[in-house]
């Protein structure tokens, strides 16, 4: 007896595919709608509202929060300082990125100990940020003063307490923790470059430095520009691990705008939320055009395009 296999109709097949697709995407889309779109719409609305602590109601209050921001920026150097710290950190991270590309090249070309370097550079990412911060804190606050005292006999403060060194120490920590990702991304991008190009260059007598400068660097330009663009978006949100080190009591001299917002939300009563929401909206309004502008110029400058 011949078994006739039932062939699914086109409609049925489509329905099955749709069912499968929906089962996969419904939950993430729902989550995205609630926790991204919903939250952001709420933040935008809240930026134009005030909170009445007596009734527990938010009410529309025009531009009052934006006026307060203007006032705060006018009289409070600390906000400008936080902005400066954020921009400074971005600048440093860009410089670091250039240095990282050299290192990534070394790793991508599988030179001596490159495998070990890759693992060592990535260790800070395997260990959680809070653990790294704790280790770093013990090093700077316990080990470093003890070391200096044993070498020089001088008593010194920990690097995270001394006002002259705290910003540098934080930057160093951020570099230490950010280095691995960039190195991995760049070395992977360089590894993807067709070997025949390198070989041809080698036959033409190109030195490793020139190979890096004229072949690898231009060819990973899209990866670099991604980091540059994402970094700009992060200027207003990066809190430089300050919360991991100091909780909500970091010294204002090292605040970034990201930390200012985070700290604000952490300790705020409901009545402070609209002000913080307005600050968030304002930062977005500033950062969006800059991001697009930079993207535009980087796209134009992209040698692979």
């Amino acid at each position: 007896m011949r078994i006739v296999k039932k062939i699914p109709t086109k409609k049925r097949a489509r329905r099955q595919k749709l069912g499968f697709y929906l089962s996969i995407v419904t939950l993430p889309i729902l989550q995205y709608c609630i926790f991204y779109i919903g939250v952001n719409i709420n933040s935008i609305l809240m930026a134009f509202q005030s909170y009445d602590a007596m009734t527990g109601e938010f009410y529309f209050d025009g531009l009052v929060n934006f006026k307060r921001i203007a006032y705060e920026f006018g009289k409070n150097d600390q906000l400008w300082n936080a902005l400066l710290n954020s921009v400074k950190y971005y600048g440093i991270s860009i410089l670091l990125m250039i240095a990282t590309t050299f290192f990534a090249f070394y790793v991508a070309k599988k030179r001596r100990f490159s495998g070990m370097f890759r693992v060592v550079a990535f260790i800070p990412h395997i260990v959680s940020n809070i653990t790294m911060a704790l280790l770093f804190k013990y090093f700077t606050e316990d080990a470093y003063p003890a070391l200096v005292e044993s070498l020089t006999g001088k008593e010194v403060w920990g690097l995270l307490v001394d006002p002259d060194t705290v910003y540098g120490a934080i930057i160093f920590f951020c570099i230490l923790c950010g280095f691995g990702t960039q190195m991995m991304m760049f070395s992977n991008a360089m590894s993807a470059i067709d070997n025949s190009i390198s070989e041809a260059a080698l036959l033409d007598g190109v030195t490793p430095f020139k190979e890096f400068l004229y072949i690898d660097l231009p060819m990973i330009f899209p990866t670099i520009s991604t980091f540059v663009i994402v970094g700009i978006a992060g200027i207003f949100t990066n809190q430089m691990s300050l919360f991991s080190f100091f909780g909500v009591s970091a010294d204002p001299s090292v605040w970034t705008l990201g930390y200012y917002l985070y700290k604000g939300i952490k300790g705020a009563a409901m009545s402070e939320y609209p002000y913080l929401a307005a600050l968030g909206v304002l930062f977005t309004l500033v950062v969006v055009p800059i991001t697009f502008l930079v993207r535009h110029f980087l796209n134009k400058a992209d040698p692979t395009a």
């Binding site: 007596m54 527990g56 080190f245 409901m270």
Partner: protein
């Protein structure tokens, strides 16, 4: 092959669905109290209790007594007795603000709970009827609340939405044994020495100026306090230790000093801005002459609330801190900004110091410290044996006068600020039998029986007035006995008021921030470290102009 694919697909789907089910079940169990099995023959009620300073042994003991009391009472058809399911986590009140109404919890015990936000949001049930109802002990809960507390809790709209969970103050712990052994008390008769020469010698009247109270022999003025510190240093004793990790701890001393110096009404001005105040006059520093503050008594209203940043009490407290922080003999080295010197480490250093012959006299802390330091005490007993047992610590009364002599005419009653915002409330969405049980449970917690269970277990008070039984007293450590004695001689204030200005801005109004040119300091300890700023500079930086005040808070002024 296709069948194999289908089987794999089916297996994966089942695994996925099962994992979802496990996730959902986990949620229920977690919010329902972890591993406790639900007894379907009883009515359940869910309690959230923050796992912080006071621990949760008290809750287990209260639950045991409550369940026994209602073992034969039916709250639902077909069920007999109650089962209270506790959930003890470190979930902060801030993170629960939005989720609490739709959570499983019927009751919350938490600290740093912003009463006004929670009440305004409708999270908490109006429990006025419960508070005013006569309980099994023949008393209403309201009758156990001090006037200050009752006024604070009803300041919003005359209704009660929560009750004090536990009472906590910031200030200074002192080692009574060390004080006794080294005669570190001021003498009543100063003919031969400022300090007593033997433990039997009569002590000075202390900060309150009254002989025979808990603070006898303790420094009554700021000048005497520094004299005591010098005397300690002479004897090889380090006066202070505190957590270097959290700058806020060093501020505890600042609050304790300034509140007692300002007095009850003066300290309350920081919260009520003259609204409903019995005496809104306080000393304001108008300027400095030769480095000394010139003060003028002024009446505070919401219009000139900015002046409260320039009170004499705040300046004197800052000056006190500056003196302490700038004499390295006065403090344990790691306290001055060592980020790895946590509060627990400071406690352990303090507990061990006397036993290791490197004595430290005082610890800047909160009254919850003894519970937190229990591990350190155990550790010290295992290391030093009998010498570490039955030690006596006390809560230090703060001087309220800057200089001169203090007697009953100018002595200051201690002002203790119950500042931790610890509350117990019922979920506004609780209904039916669970609500009935929740109300009974709260009533039980605040009955004399429940209150004694709490104090016996934690050593701390609930933040209401009640008689301690002999059994409870016998179980108290010497520290809590001393604290309760001092508390009974003090005035307790709460950082709450009916001022619309304060209710809308409570997180920004009470800070000790200082702006000095382009520098901003959140904590005096940071500015004073290494003498970067003087007390005068810091204090001047705290000033706020009328223009700033109006720009920031103008819309809330005179809204009562």
């Amino acid at each position: 092959m296709k069948i194999a694919k289908r089987i794999i697909g089916l297996t994966l789907s089942v695994c996925f669905i099962l994992s979802m089910c496990t996730f959902l079940t986990g949620c229920g169990t977690s919010s329902g109290g972890g591993a406790i099995e639900v007894d379907n023959d009883k009515t359940q009620m869910y309690v959230f209790s923050y796992n912080g300073g006071v621990g949760n042994e008290w809750l287990d003991e209260t639950i045991k007594a409550f369940e026994a009391k209602y073992a034969n009472t039916s709250f639902e058809e077909g069920k007999m007795g109650v089962q209270i399911i506790p959930d003890k986590q470190k979930m902060t009140a801030v993170s629960m603000l939005d989720s609490f109404p739709n959570s499983t919890y019927d009751i919350i015990f938490n600290e740093n709970l912003r009463y006004n936000d929670w009440a305004a949001k409708g999270n908490l049930l109006d429990i006025s009827d419960l508070v005013k109802e006569v309980g099994d002990d023949g008393k209403t809960i309201e009758s156990k609340l001090s006037d200050n507390k009752a006024a604070a809790l009803t300041a919003r709209d005359g209704k009660y939405y929560a009750l004090p969970h536990y009472e906590a103050f910031r200030g200074v712990v002192y080692d009574i044994d060390l004080f006794e052994e080294n005669n570190l008390y001021f003498a009543a008769d100063r003919t031969y020495s400022d300090f007593i020469l033997s433990s039997t010698e009569q002590r000075s009247a202390g900060p309150d100026g009254v002989v025979g109270t808990t603070d006898d022999g303790l420094p009554a003025t700021y000048e005497e306090f520094f004299k005591l510190c010098d005397y300690m240093v002479q004897k090889g004793i380090t006066p202070f230790v505190w957590s270097g990790e959290q700058n806020a701890y060093s501020e505890f001393l600042l609050y304790a000093l300034s509140e007692t110096m300002a007095g009850e009404e003066g300290a309350k001005l920081n919260y009520n801005y003259g609204v409903g105040s019995l005496d809104a006059t306080t000393n304001i520093v108008t300027h400095f002459t030769n480095g000394q503050p010139v003060v003028e008594a002024m009446t505070i209203t919401e219009e000139n609330g900015y002046l409260l940043r320039q009170t004499e009490a705040k300046y004197r407290a800052l000056e006190f801190l500056f003196t302490i922080f700038n004499k390295s003999d006065y403090y344990y080295k790691d306290s001055m900004g060592k980020l790895t010197m946590s509060n627990k480490e400071a406690q352990q250093t303090y507990v061990f110091s006397k036993l290791e012959n490197k004595p430290i006299a005082m610890l800047i802390e909160g009254t919850w410290w003894a519970k937190e330091a229990a591990d350190s005490v155990e550790l010290s007993i295992s290391a030093f044996g009998d010498a570490a047992k039955n030690r006596n610590f006390g809560w230090m009364a703060m001087p309220g006068v800057y200089s001169g002599t203090v007697d009953s005419s100018n002595g200051k009653t201690q002002v203790l600020n119950d500042c931790m915002n610890c509350y117990c409330g019922i979920n506004a969405k609780s209904t039916g039998a669970r609500l009935e049980v929740a109300k009974l449970f709260v009533k039980f917690c605040y009955s004399d029986e429940g209150l004694n269970i709490f104090t016996k277990s934690t050593g701390m008070l609930r933040g209401v007035n009640y008689e301690l039984t002999e059994d409870t007293k016998a179980n108290l450590s010497s520290f809590y006995r001393n604290l309760i004695e001092l508390r009974n001689e003090s005035v307790i204030i709460t950082p709450m008021s009916s001022s619309v200005l304060f209710i809308n801005n409570e997180t920004t109004l009470t800070a000790y921030e200082s702006y000095w040119n382009s520098d901003q300091y959140l904590f005096p300890v940071v500015a004073f470290r290494g003498g970067q700023k003087s007390a005068v500079d810091y204090f001047k930086g705290m000033a706020m102009t009328q223009q700033d005040w109006e720009a920031t808070y103008g819309r809330y002024i005179n809204q009562n």
